[in-house]
Every structure is written in structure tokens, then in C-alpha cells.
């Protein structure tokens, strides 16, 4: 027989060619349109945030792996840190001071992921942990939004800033919002509005989402129920009082709903594994987003809602398990 050692293992002896790395790569490709859009809108500032976030995440991941005495391969090369970095950048305003971006990377990688044991173990979405951390720590810096398209190549501190449409709605009311921009819906679609890097162009985000759906990296349940619930919840308020509450179309196109529903709430590690669980997860995210936006004191609630539902994920996974392979009316087996 042969001189090489035989492989001894349990069945099955075949695997399909998918891998963690390939999944991460697919997510990166899906993020490309939104990344490009953000650079087009915010210029060099967006590039700086993106580069800092990615390099920061890689560096802190490497340091954390060293401390935990884990090998850099395959952990650093599987692309998960890069995805975290890009997603973090997508959740930050373009003018954020450089050191805050690095703090965000540190929080995302260490607090969001490595304290729980690294990839696959974290209960909360790392990028969102970092975003909310920064948002609560530095409320001013995190709500200073450079105007898209202005000062594309400048690095100066005196870039023109403006509130996001949701911010205008919260502080100045519906009438002010409608009069602020005559071409509001088109601008929401193309991304010509203030906001985080990834909260601008709805079209770019939807393109990425369709790609992910096509490559079966995500399934439709979470994005559709998330966006649908926001639409329905805000729609009810709009129908009751259309002079105070914005219409549901505006609600789903503005802020982080698209980014959150397509890229953040579909993070595999922190969301339910079953289809039914995903439906409930998406519904919960949409509902909490709506409640915070319309009834709370913050203009935007997507990040909070996803983090809270991340907290519920273990409960959903525990109590919404797939129905066992059974005849109808058949008795259930012991657990």
C-alpha cells in the first residue's frame, strides 16, 4: 500500500467547497457598492475612516490573538476582522476624529468579539457594540455629519455639516424636513443625504443585499421582516396623524434601516439559526426601531434595536426550534 498515512475520520468524507473565508469574501463583495458610494459622497474623509477602521480591526485582532495564544492563521486571514472593520466604518460619520475610529476598532474587536472567545462566540454584533459605545461616549462627534458631496478632497476641520433627515425630523418636525429638501426621496435612494458612511445610498445597499441573497449568504427573512415591520409600524402612525409623523417610505429609506436590515441584522453569529427564529428576530428589530424613532428621545434606533434583539437571540433559538420530522398529530419525542 501507500507510504502516506491514511486518513481516518468519521463520515461524511466529502465537503462542499464553501468556507468561512469564502463567506466573508462574499460579504466584502456585497459591501463594495456601498463602500464606493460612501467614498463618492464623502471623499477622502470616508477613505480615511474606512482604512483606519479596517487596519485598526486587523491590528487589534492580531494583538488579541497573541494574548490568547491563538495562531494568526486562520483567524486573521479568514476575513472576519476586515468585515468587522468595513461594517464599523459604515456605521461612523465621515468626519470622525481618527482616534475615535481606532477606539471603535478596539471596542469592536476586543469588547465585541474577543472577550467572548473570538469568532463564533460573540452574542452581540461587534461593529454595533462599537458604534453604540462611541455614540454614547461621544454624542457630539458621532452626530456631526459632513454634507455629502462637499469638500471631497479636503482634510480640513471646517467642512460643512448638516443634520440627517431623521435628525431634522426629530428636532424640527415634519414640516421642516419636507421643506429642507425638494428632492428628498431621490436623494435618499442615491445617498445624497447626511449620515454614516453606510447610511446613505439605499440603492447601493439593496444591490449588495441582492448579491448576498443570490449567493445564499443571507436569507430573505430578516431583511424583509425588519424593513416590513418598520414600514407597517410607522405607517400606522402616519395614517393616524400624517401632520406629525413622516410617511413609512421615508422611514425605511432614511437612517440605518437598509444598512441594518441587510448587513447588520443578518450577521450569522448573533442571529437565530432557524427561519422562524429569523422572522421573529426581524420583527423585533423593526418594532424596537419604530418605537425608538417615534416615541423615544433618539432620532434613530436601528443599532440599539439590533443589539437588543441580539440579546434575545439565545432565547429565540431555544424556544423556536424546528418542528421535529413528524406525522401530524404524532407525539413529540423527549428533548
Amino acid at each position: 500500500m501507500s507510504s502516506t498515512k491514511l486518513i481516518l475520520q468519521s463520515s461524511p468524507h466529502l465537503r462542499d467547497d464553501d468556507s468561512v473565508r469564502r463567506i466573508m469574501l462574499t460579504v466584502l463583495i456585497a459591501l463594495a457598492p456601498a463602500t464606493v458610494a460612501s467614498v463618492l459622497m464623502f471623499g477622502t474623509r470616508a477613505v480615511v475612516v474606512l482604512v483606519l477602521a479596517v487596519l485598526g480591526c486587523l491590528a487589534f485582532e492580531a494583538i488579541a490573538l497573541k494574548i490568547m495564544k491563538k495562531p494568526l492563521m486562520p483567524y486573521l486571514t479568514d476575513g472576519s476582522a476586515v468585515v468587522t472593520g468595513i461594517l464599523l466604518a459604515m456605521n461612523l460619520p465621515s468626519g470622525l476624529p481618527w482616534w475615535m475610529v481606532l477606539v471603535g476598532a478596539l471596542v469592536a474587536v476586543v469588547l465585541g468579539k474577543q472577550v467572548y472567545g473570538g469568532i463564533g462566540s460573540n452574542p452581540f454584533n461587534p461593529a454595533l457594540v462599537a458604534r453604540v459605545f462611541l455614540f454614547i461616549s461621544f454624542p457630539t462627534a458621532m452626530t456631526t455629519w459632513p454634507v455629502p458631496g462637499s469638500d471631497l478632497f479636503g482634510m480640513g476641520a471646517d467642512v460643512a455639516t448638516a443634520a440627517t433627515p431623521l435628525g431634522v425630523l426629530k428636532t424640527d418636525g415634519l414640516a421642516a424636513l419636507m421643506s429642507s429638501d425638494s428632492n428628498l426621496y431621490m436623494n435618499l435612494l442615491t445617498g445624497h443625504v447626511g449620515g454614516c458612511l453606510g447610511e446613505t445610498s439605499a440603492i447601493a445597499l439593496i444591490l449588495g443585499g441582492l448579491f448576498l441573497l443570490l449567493r445564499k449568504v443571507i436569507s430573505w427573512e430578516i431583511p424583509v421582516t425588519f424593513i416590513g415591520t418598520v414600514f407597517a409600524f410607522t405607517g400606522v402612525f402616519y395614517l393616524v396623524d400624517s401632520s406629525t409623523y413622516a410617511d413609512p417610505l421615508f422611514q425605511i429609506l432614511s437612517g440605518g434601516v437598509m444598512l441594518g436590515a441587510i448587513f447588520m441584522a443578518t450577521d450569522m453569529v448573533t442571529t437565530p439559526v432557524t427561519r422562524k427564529g429569523m422572522l421573529l428576530f426581524g420583527f423585533g428589530c423593526g418594532l424596537i426601531t419604530g418605537v425608538i424613532r417615534l416615541l423615544g428621545s433618539y432620532p434613530e434606533g436601528v443599532s440599539f434595536s439590533i443589539l437588543i434583539m441580539n440579546g434575545f437571540t439565545p432565547l429565540i433559538d431555544r424556544y423556536i426550534t424546528p418542528a421535529p420530522f413528524e406525522d401530524k398529530g404524532g407525539e413529540l419525542q423527549a428533548p
Binding site: 472577550v115 472567545g117 452574542p123 452581540f124 453604540v132 433618539y298 437588543i308 431555544r318
Partner: protein
């Protein structure tokens, strides 16, 4: 807070003013009884029961006896007496009626006595100058908020039991960090019911 509607008080006490995440009351049982979901549910029920009962009793003691007779300084002393007796009462009854729940909650039942959430809420009822109805709603809401936080955390913690949490962080450290992130997330509810 005394002017708020009943519903607003209720929602605020569960979400934006959650006993654990915003008021730091009842952290010991939060860290101690969250190892499994079933005990978390049991503890939540026990807290809801004891907390409601104790508020229902301590409020009139203050309003009808201590205040009229200028004995406010006896508040802490008399409240803790009532609570201690109540807990013992619940313990005796539970031991007889639901022995399985009793054995599951184990040493934590007597710890309800030292659960500062119970005494804390009883005192807050007085400090915030709530009416009797408001106080009861506030108490029930706080207990529900405690249960919510405990159950979410127990779910996460059961999962963490099958994840690769580093050794130095296992137990209380990761519990506190998780509570911190949840507290961060719950800050999103700021302004609700206010």
C-alpha cells in the same frame, strides 16, 4: 416622576429605567441566579411576588404610621423587618408547595432578603413621592424589568457555556461585560415614558 401617567411609569420602569441596567439594584442575584433559564424564570417570579407584596405593605406602613407619627427615621429598619419576614414566609410556603422550585432556587431565596432591589424599590416608592397606585405599578414594572434582564442574560449565559470564553473572563467578568453591553443597548429606550 410623580406626575407621570401609570402607563408611562410602567414602561419606563421596565425599559429606560430598568432596575438592573439603569438603577444597579439586584446585581447579586442577577449574577448569581442566571446560570440557567429555568432558575432565572423561577427567581423572576419569586422577585415579582415578594417585591409587589413588600411594596404593598411597606407603603401604607410609611404613609399611615411612620409619617403621621414623625418616625420617618425608622423607615429603613421597619421596611427591612417586613421584607425579611415576607421572604421567610415565601420560603416556608414554597418549600411545601413547590419543592422542586425550592431546590432549584436553593440558597438564593434567603438572598432575596438581601436583594437590594426589594428594599430599594420600597424606598424609591417613598422618595419619588408616588401615589399608592403609582407605587404599585412602578413596583410591578421594576420586577418585570428585573425578570426581563435576568432572563435575557440567562439565555446568553447558557449559550456562553458552550462558547470559548477565555478562562479569566468566565463567570462574573463576562457577566458584567454582557450586562454593560445590554445596558448600552437599553439606553436606546431613553425618553420612553418620560
Amino acid at each position: 416622576m410623580a406626575e407621570q401617567s401609570i402607563i408611562a411609569i410602567f414602561i419606563a420602569s421596565i425599559l429606560s429605567q430598568n432596575v438592573i441596567f439603569a438603577r444597579f439594584l439586584g446585581i447579586c442575584p442577577y449574577l448569581g441566579v442566571s446560570r440557567s433559564l429555568s432558575t432565572a424564570f423561577g427567581m423572576s417570579a419569586a422577585v415579582l411576588f415578594v417585591m409587589t407584596l413588600s411594596s404593598a405593605i411597606t407603603y401604607p406602613i410609611y404613609a399611615l404610621v411612620l409619617k403621621p407619627y414623625d418616625m420617618e427615621y425608622l423607615q429603613t429598619l421597619s421596611f427591612i423587618l417586613v421584607i425579611a419576614s415576607l421572604v421567610q414566609l415565601v420560603e416556608i410556603v414554597m418549600k411545601k408547595a413547590t419543592p422542586s422550585l425550592y431546590s432549584a432556587l436553593g440558597i438564593f431565596l434567603p438572598l432575596i432578603t438581601t436583594n437590594c432591589a426589594i428594599l430599594g424599590i420600597a424606598i424609591l416608592n417613598i422618595n419619588e413621592k408616588l401615589s399608592y397606585a403609582q407605587a404599585l405599578v412602578f413596583t410591578v414594572g421594576s420586577a418585570v424589568g428585573f425578570g426581563l434582564a435576568l432572563v435575557i442574560f440567562a439565555g446568553i449565559r447558557e449559550n456562553l457555556g458552550v462558547r470559548h470564553v477565555p478562562k479569566v473572563l468566565q463567570g462574573a467578568p463576562i457577566g458584567l461585560i454582557t450586562a454593560g453591553i445590554l445596558a448600552m443597548a437599553f439606553m436606546g429606550f431613553a425618553g420612553l415614558g418620560q
